[in-house]
Symmetry: D2
Subunit: 358 residues, 4 copies
């Protein structure tokens, strides 16, 4: 952390800042410029810190001087103009020396040096027949993991809210028949145990990316977690939310870019593909892309899928529906089975062009 | 709802759209232009619809033809270019014929024709002494409601997470001494019963504005709910989230503008004061403003408070801390007691200038 | 255009709206819903309209009823709730029946069914030696067009502003030696004649996308125009700016996505690759992508170039500099020649995977 | 400027960075942390630098070490992780020791300790009668300066483009009759001399805020310049554009907040009132607000005007039209004369409440 003083800071103010820094067992190195003083805060790279919880477990977070001081309002001390963080606020998610991690979703590896994975299925589980039929379709085209929502986050309370446990049961049946592991969304801390009975991977949706209670809860689950980027979360926010899950002990986190909210209204969201290489440089976690929810219009899903793959995504999550005109949610964006089937060989060709398999 | 066809739509495609509309018991009126057909969807203004829940209660949602069709992917039917909603997706929150509502927070009315209310206190409850001391200070300056967080949503898992039930107990003690009703944040559906024991108003934070499980849960509470706008939620999204709470039977919802995320980084968020008159035109719910979290820098809180009041806010929520340098969260943004005390008469003068009392 | 009335609009108000519509020689068709009236405005698809200018030329703009009425504030008439445009505000840029156009840049075709084109060169022309050296390098690697700025738009008045006519002369010399046609930026209407002497294509930069005087001026040039999207322009705004150029008689316009401004700060801008297929669906003009200025960090340019190609871009504009540490502008983002040279075969492979040549 | 190295930077890389810094006659102070090295760049506060131009004049820009190094891509040197600017990129616009400046518009002072000023008039000059009539109306209600566009920046080439010199002549006539000085927009460097013949203040519009050729040109004018914030310009960008004008020798610049583009679509733009106190803290230039173009809906202009005043604006620019239904541009947003007349006393009361006159 670097502390920059105001041009007119007094010696007394500077001394008070230095004292504050040293109270935390950290060292303060001072550089004097023509009009400002720069104070470099230096300390042991990894301080241990107990994170007590109501429960009996004690987790040890490994944090540096930044994290210690970040909570203290040094920026508002007299004479201080700005605070510049140097080390990252996240540790467990950081790439650093580690290589890229791979996370197993019901036996299918995602990330690292592994093949690119197709995750597919409908937006919502609507009936036993529907999910079984779509599961067979996407499996045949090449999908390796099945997605489908049983608990649905809907903007309107008057919209279809999902089949709940029935939906989970139908997903498990589809897995039994097709062998495809199942990803489904969790929206409420109270639903964890029921979802854990049926699913292979927990999805935390864009609107819950900073639902910290939920993040902590899935951090204690034995299942991997697919964490979708909040549609107005920065890349750094996304990594911090992953850190919540990791810091509870669950090391199997997959990040998902799914479009951000911008001024542009021609598409539903703006798919931020630069997030893919940026996240790969900052963290070791697998990065996947959901082009369907981002663009929101079926006609443009193939192009965005190809682009996401070329940008380096470890998996693609593409919605498919065999009768989208009758879908209970997001029917406008799901690919028809025939279109999906034609897209897969193209995806395979692009994967090969960048040296990966699919 | 209006359906606009593509210039090259066939008669058969148009007929199929009309059939779909009529399947829902709605009428389709057709206008033919030079190159496009416009289909007006018309129906009974209020259709009743049962919303079954696991529990024994049955809530009747009052919805129009829009809501019925909105879930159906007519936009993706062949020959359709665009869908234009006409009536609002919300009903219970709509202003319509109703006048502005007032919501009672522990006996203090907020909204409607009532006086402008000052809500104040620290970001987090840090200790019994701290909250008692600040409660006395803000009451003396003119605050009518006390705020303070016991459960804290923090971007980093390594930051102070709140005193939990201890914090609630200290808040209740501060109320007992000062008479100020208490607003505090709820982050987890499982915490409702404990918070209901101590608080006068539940706050749903910006990161949980679309945590629909939480919205439904507080919709069943007897306490009023202060719903903060998600920092990337549109005004319409905010009203839809209020509709979730209202549709569960809790009619005491207060909306709060607290800054949105934009490209500008000079302030923490961009305070969107146009939301105040826009929300007043669209809903009957009280609208308040939190200038502190929006601007994030104590130096500019007074100007933004005055502006929010002039824009028509029904209440202001302003953070005050008596030793911000030692605050465990957001110390950079809290006003010093002396500054708050000097601000109140200015706020009173601006309120008077626009014909309101404070 | 559709006019939607307020629930409480009186018959008199509705009649006044209808009268206004008919004053423009247009027809008004009325549909009555339960609480609102919908007025469809219908007219001859193409009204001719003279656009007089000080000069002796007269251009005939082909516009529909929308454009006629758009300027009239019907939205503010009593009883009107909303106006919904149906036909597009642009005509000459619209895809409609036309296929994709190809534009010739000094003999190199861009767009349509043509091969994908690599445009490369430094950000600024810094010296004769520099531009000659880089032109040779990028030509050897496979670039077909040379870029380089002689007039530089810089945020700070204290930054390098370009070599002006000297820079143009060096560019022309590089063309003479390598045969690569030259694209360079125009910032001022007064510079058109000098730039026309040297360049093969005029670039209008992101900050001038709505400099309407400049758009009109380049609309009268014999050179093709590369129009970069304003970093906060919607896709529709971009097409309207192209329409300015087209409506002056210059039919050779190439659109360029180069990143938009969002809340994300990890990259310089957010590259909006969904703009590529969306623009292709809306206009017949060629669409190219500039990944360099979008991401702003050399390390991530290759991934974004591959993604842009996979999304369907007709050309890529990639900055290359042989000694970026000494560059006078944007050195952090230019690729090293060796990295560019390794990237080209990968781009070729991705192009082949989607059925195009490069 | 501070240079932060990567955790794995070699001694050789660090030495090369230090050498580069010293080549510019600047000093490099090194602090070594546990894993990173921080290099503070220190130099004479004000280096003089000649800015040669084709013309015979030579302007001396006063810049610090930051500006010198900013153009050099140190950020891309091996071993460097980040560059943190310390001093501002602008000098002449900076507040620093200076108090707030006041700028005279045809004798009416704006900014500093002066009274709040009302600037009013129509969006466009449409006819001699129209501008004369509106000038009389707004003068009577209390406006001190007249606005009106003769050259109009319009998104569509098919929209009304302004009366050009005729419009200027009518504005001058309105000034002659009412005594109100005139502000009007300049869009093209070639129009400066004709506009200077008639106007008292040049307006640079939101779409030309980074039209650097135009900024330089108005920087050489004897007239004051009203510089509107680009709708996606940061506060820092706005100040840098002002610096362009100031660095050419024109010290009379007024800044204007007029709404920024965000994801919210309920209003035309999001009025960023936090820009008012933030700009006042950063620069000495007067800050005014245009609520009309920001909100874009006449119904909400009064509330936003009151809020802008309360936030500390030095002047308000409010559009008034006596027959907005017939306006040739932006008729939906102009206030009716009666509404404007009722608003002025309210504005006066709010001004008094914060200790200012109007």
């Amino acid at each position: 952390m670097i502390i920059i003083t105001r041009p007119n800071a007094t010696e007394e103010q500077i001394a008070r800042v230095v004292t504050r820094v040293r109270e935390f067992g950290l060292d303060a190195q001072i550089s004097r410029g023509a009009s400002r003083v720069i104070i470099g805060v230096i300390g042991p790279e990894a301080l241990l810190r107990e994170k007590p919880r109501g429960a009996s477990r004690v987790i040890i977070g490994v944090i540096g001087p930044e994290a210690l001081l970040r909570e203290k309002p040094i920026a508002s001390m007299a004479g201080v103009e700005a605070i510049v963080p140097v080390s990252k606020a996240y540790k467990l998610a950081a790439r650093d020396s580690r290589g890229a991690s791979s996370v197993s979703v019901g036996g299918v590896p995602v990330g690292g040096e592994e093949d690119v994975v197709l995750i597919s299925g409908p937006c919502s589980v609507e009936s036993r027949e529907q999910i079984l039929s779509i599961a067979r379709i996407v499996k045949k085209s090449g999908a390796k993991i099945l997605r489908g929502g049983a608990f649905k986050p809907r903007t309107s309370p008057y919209s279809f809210q999902g089949l709940r446990e029935d939906g989970l049961r139908f997903l498990a049946e589809a897995r039994a028949e097709t062998g495809l592991p199942v990803i489904t969304e969790i929206m409420d801390t109270r639903d964890l145990s029921v979802i854990e009975k049926y699913a292979d991977c927990l999805q935390v949706g864009t609107r819950n990316m900073q639902n910290f209670s939920l993040l902590k809860e899935v951090g204690r689950s034995r299942l991997p977690v697919l964490l979708k980027r909040g549609f107005s979360a920065t890349i750094n926010d996304l990594i911090m939310s992953a850190e919540y899950i990791l810091s509870e002990g669950n090391m199997n986190v997959i990040l998902c870019e799914r479009g951000i909210r911008t001024f542009e209204t021609a598409a539903r969201y703006t798919l931020d593909l630069s997030a893919v290489p940026l996240l790969k440089a900052k963290t070791h976690l697998p990065i996947i892309v959901d082009p369907t929810h981002a663009i929101g219009l079926r006609e443009f899903v193939p192009q965005m899928s190809l682009a996401a793959l070329a940008a380096g995504a470890d998996a693609l999550m593409i919605e498919v529906h065999d009768s989208p005109d009758l879908a209970k949610s997001d029917g406008d964006q799901a690919l028809l089975p025939t279109v999906f089937d034609e897209l897969v060989p193209q995806l395979r060709a692009v994967a090969a062009a960048i040296g990966r398999d699919l």
